[in-house]
Symmetry: C2
DNA sequence: CCCAAAGTACGGTGGGTGTCAAACTTTGAT
DNA sequence: ATCAAAGTTTGACACCCACCGTACTTTGGG
């Protein structure tokens, strides 16, 4: 029942795997607070589109590095992403399957937003004849 | 194509029907901002459970009347509820069908939250033998 | 050994918003 | 005509959180 990892002696003392919450303990409140920020939704969409682990750096965000760190932290606490280190880079992966099992439909709504965004951009272009 | 209602002359000048936004103009950002507040989710759940129009007053909320007014306003702007007057009472109805068509699954997630809440309350009771 | 790269941690700032009380409006009833 | 009920409006306030810069840590490479 030891929730803290046993650390089988061979690995160095400091493990760089941050705690990932059990999805069952996540509340809708937490998830909505995480997803109400457009930058965080952008991260989620990027990870979904990539379909694989991405280091923080390759996701282009309109904020500073320290702010980005903050956003990744919030997403992890809300059970949306999983993080682990590879060298000096922190890799991020969407916890897609398990999250969708806990909150069905939510992720799909976010992905749909990306689609909307594209359609609207096209429509705006079409509706502006000249200027 | 006139988006503003024509007001067929017979009705009195001041109509007490506030503007209800077209669901197609609502963004996910707006909806999430509306639903991130627990009081507003409580309102939505109450309307869903009732299945009929309810005046503001009969929904018990942990806030003052003026704050409640504010929350109903936000929900209406986000396309989640429709309001109309009956006497001195303002009736509120969930725009359930059309909203679900625009954002499939979201409302269901909120309703599921109510279920979760009940289950957790029961579990908490069961896990506390005595004190 | 030292430096660059990639994040993290921390302290501080500004804007947004949930909150309330008080004054006001509209409606229906006495 | 007057009064109570139900909401609304309008400030004002307090707290939260997204944001940034700076300093720091860890890792891998020259």
């Amino acid at each position: 029942m030891a929730r803290t990892a046993p650390r089988t002696g061979s690995t160095p003392a400091r493990d760089r795997v941050p705690p990932h919450p059990d999805l069952r303990t996540i509340t809708l409140q937490q998830v909505l607070e995480a997803l109400v920020d457009p930058v965080r939704r952008q991260i989620v969409r990027a990870l979904h589109a990539a379909g694989e682990d991405l280091p923080c750096g390759v996701i282009e965000l309109p904020v500073s590095k320290s702010t980005a760190t903050h956003h990744f932290h919030v997403l992890r606490e809300a059970g949306l992403i999983r993080q682990h280190y590879v060298g000096t880079s922190r890799m991020n992966a969407l916890r897609g399957e398990e999250f969708s099992e806990r909150f069905p439909g939510l992720l799909e709504t976010l992905v749909a937003e990306a689609e909307q965004r594209r359609v609207r951009a096209l429509a705006d272009l079409a509706l502006q004849p000249a200027r």
